[in-house]
């Protein structure tokens, strides 16, 4: 049993999907850090207003040091995106973003927590072997291509986290009587009735959006969508539909709520499910059995359909 588990974790898979996530998460991290960098550079940091440390012993920097750290984080994110010194820059980006998130309870938001998780897993994975300056420089120096496969475990962890975000959200709504009955979504829309009426929505649609009975059905649809995404991603047959649902879901959220980077991050991380769903990401054959780690007793052969 344990041996099978180890083989599963060590199974070589393509790192291209992780490289795509790295490429997309880099600019998303820059967008996330931008207000912190801008504030710190004009001398306005979290220390100047209400903040609340998780633990008293958490190390804090003077304002200049904090500003410097935020700039380093943003530069590392840019380098991570283009795949320059990927092994180092993913770790630095993760360290800076995680440090900043855990500085104060006021910094914690779901989208930022998700970003830290994704960066942490990218830092553990060899995500700079494809679509990167590192790979390009290596080719230019005629050093031979990097092995594009790696043990599967970071990819599976990212997939688990991706599904968990939708699953945890869906289950929490399912267990909440007010959510299930539509009270929560109806309440949110009614609170903003003036804005809904003033929006581009045609009158009858606005009326429908403000109708309580509509929300009784819509809330169930939202919960079902989240739970379908969380579960549908795991099976190859349902995966394309779950991916489509997730894309639609994020587009809808982006246009109806202020969620910082959540929509972009959610869409970017969906690429961890792309291999083998997207043919051009697929590795046809594992070319270099000696260069990867198939695990104890693992196959040194073909792979990659995970």
């Amino acid at each position: 049993m344990i041996e099978r588990f180890d083989r599963f974790l060590a199974q070589p898979v393509s790192t291209r999907s992780l490289a795509i996530v790295r490429l997309l998460v880099g600019p998303i991290t820059v967008v996330h850090l931008q207000p912190f960098v801008a504030g710190a550079l004009r001398g306005d940091t979290y220390q100047d207003h209400f903040h609340h440390a998780y633990v008293r012993w958490y190390p804090e920097l003077p304002e200049t040091g904090y500003a410097f750290l935020m700039v380093i984080g943003a530069l590392a994110a840019v380098a991570m995106a283009v795949g320059l010194w990927s092994q180092l820059t993913t770790k630095v980006t993760f360290a800076v973003v995680a440090y900043n998130l855990l500085l104060s309870t006021t910094h914690m938001h779901n989208n930022r927590a998700y970003l830290v998780i994704v960066l942490g897993l990218l830092a553990m994975a060899p995500c700079g072997r494809a679509f990167s300056v590192d790979a390009w420089l290596r080719a230019r120096r005629r050093l031979g291509p990097l092995d594009l496969t790696a043990p599967a475990w970071p990819l599976w962890l990212l997939r688990f986290e991706c599904a968990t975000v939708y699953g945890a959200s869906g289950v929490s709504k399912l267990l909440d009587r007010d959510w299930l009955s539509g009270t929560v979504t109806w309440g949110r829309v009614v609170e903003q009735e003036a804005a809904v009426r003033a929006s581009l929505l045609p009158g009858p649609i606005a009326d429908l959006a403000l109708e309580r009975s509509f929300h009784a059905a819509a809330a169930k649809l939202i919960i079902a969508t989240e739970l379908f995404i969380a579960s549908g991603l795991w099976w190859r047959r349902t995966r394309p539909f779950a991916l489509l649902a997730a894309v639609g879901f994020h587009v809808m959220i982006q246009f109806t709520a202020d969620v910082e980077i959540f929509s972009y991050l959610g869409l970017a991380v969906l690429f961890v499910w792309a291999d083998p769903a997207v043919p051009w990401l697929r590795l046809r054959r594992w070319r270099s059995p000696a260069a990867t780690d198939p695990g104890p007793g693992g196959p040194g052969s073909s792979i990659v359909r995970v």
């Binding site: 609340h52 006021t106 688990f160 009270t183 929560v184 949110r188 009614v190």
Partner: protein, 147 residues
Amino acid sequence: MASSACIRLRRIAFAGVILLQLLFVVRAYWAPHKEFGFQMFPEASSWQAEIVRVTADGARVPVDQPWFGYEWNGLVPERGLASPWNRHHADAGLDNQIAFLGEALDWVAANTPLDTETRYYEATVTTWFNMQGPTTRTLWSPNRNQR
């Protein structure tokens, strides 16, 4: 081939991340700040607070007026805590919002050294949980004279 220590470490890291994430998801059902719990848009609740400075002579001065060079909105601009005298949506739920407000009172009490007058801060908070009727509760900062 990976060493046995490496294999064991990989096994622990994999199981550890999954276990930790599940613990955070479960913990979010009672923790006010719900870190890594991913409970999105949890409530349609709203809140409003009358916050006063209670001075040494017993006066109760609303914080919507600046005092000793301080302004509430300058001190507490984040987490929906600005202009608490207006009714606001509780973005991450009432428990979360009330926890933040309590922490903010403590922080303001501890970080306004020019204020030589205020003994403590008091917030009378009115909440509307998911469109239901109002409930009122009171929060206090620690007494500044005892610091």
